[in-house]
Symmetry: C2
Amino acid sequence: MTETSALQAERNRLDAPVDALTRLFFIFGSPIAHVRAPVVWSTLMKRYGVNAVMLPADAAPAQFEHAMEGVKSIANVDGLIFTMPHKIAAMKHADALTERARRVGSINLLRRGPDGTWEGDNVDGAGFVAGLRADSVTLEGSNVYVHGCGGVGQSIGWSLAMEGVASLTLFDLDWQRAATLARSIAEQSHVSIRVGAPDMSTIDLAVNASPVGLNADDPLPFSVDDSPHHAVVADVIMEPRTTRLLAAAHSRGLKVHHGRNMMNFGMPIAASFFGLPESFDWNGAAVQK
Amino acid sequence: MTETSALQAERNRLDAPVDALTRLFFIFGSPIAHVRAPVVWSTLMKRYGVNAVMLPADAAPAQFEHAMEGVKSIANVDGLIFTMPHKIAAMKHADALTERARRVGSINLLRRGPDGTWEGDNVDGAGFVAGLRADSVTLEGSNVYVHGCGGVGQSIGWSLAMEGVASLTLFDLDWQRAATLARSIAEQSHVSIRVGAPDMSTIDLAVNASPVGLNADDPLPFSVDDSPHHAVVADVIMEPRTTRLLAAAHSRGLKVHHGRNMMNFGMPIAASFFGLPESFDWNGAAVQK
């Protein structure tokens, strides 16, 4: 019996969660306590016989640079996921970027290549769009509002612009951030773009891409009182599953689209980016709808 | 149901190995593939309901500084273990040292205190001595040979000197390293100390504290052909369990002491240092003898 197979036998006997050969993935966020990625990814890795875990990494912005240099220096770290507020800061840690990540200006994924360099991607928007499509939401010709133009809002804005929407209205508390995104999208697409708060009665799809709603006592990110009856209201917040915004939309009889869809439909794309088995059943029993 | 308890419920339903609240411990080593700490510690943490895992961190010496700064920057990292070759380099990452760690000049444990500072300890020697005692090896009045004066050899040398042995003979391929350890022990104990290869016929307890024997085709670290029949031969190498040295000693009818004892008897001391449950049954079913 080789050393490695002896260790494997001991691991199996003890049903240990990790061993010396376990490959490490981290999700960086701040706060981190609400993220579902460690549970969901690690469960699927175990179920599919991949000796890897997705670990929570609680790093405040001031600690992020050191933490990133550190985990990249550990040879058995294969990939990283970024959630708020690190998606933009993470970008400079990529040696190369996918086309969509370069366009968006932020990354939510970073993988180590065979040559040791790190490649960044951003699949938030692609996952969000895939979720809307699966939920039969029409995008072509729609008037869309994106509230919040941080990492996730940028990714969603870009992806929607590429899906044939009629107009995009972009809002951010930092007006400059919304304007920058608008200018950048306008340079590469023909979608009609406005910056600022919209006339909600003209909006077919309203998306909260801001962190407002993470805390139970947050105000509504925006009002849906004037939304037309056919409007769809989407939130990127995963926990709580039904935010105050979605509850308000639901009580008005509007169609709601939960934040978990973005992760559930982004995960197969991310898994493929990380080189994990394509058969990963992300939308099966392991994933809470 | 709070967000955290919802996450906990999902984790339980899926039997996930980690979740967003999991506390992280790392064992740093290079190579790392043979270390048993991830399996053994993580199993016990799980068994005792501690939401934590012990992860392998494969960091070459050139990457060690970055990797250390990084993991210390992650807020949910509570403690670190060091194995070869990092025990000496790790010391400068401690804000404070226990008395025995200061004496030895290397650490194998580092914990984050409530105030965010890091304290280092070295329990290799204490674990090794506890293992010998449990194996009924007499130390008082013995003539002891320690082969290898790196981190673990230093810790063992110091601990044996404090246990009333008659003489210590210290050897290292780097003669200066053995001489430095000898001088340092001589300043604080009255044990008789020699540096160099011993007359093995006078040695009651011979300890391999070098990495020689980790690989199947390594030579013997030293010969036991001239050892007296009552001699005990100990190895610090855990994997393979029976090194070529121990096999040679066994075939001569000498008493052998396996490397795993140092970890098995050091672990309760380490667990206590990390603030883990004192009831941890390190020497029960989870630990392979």
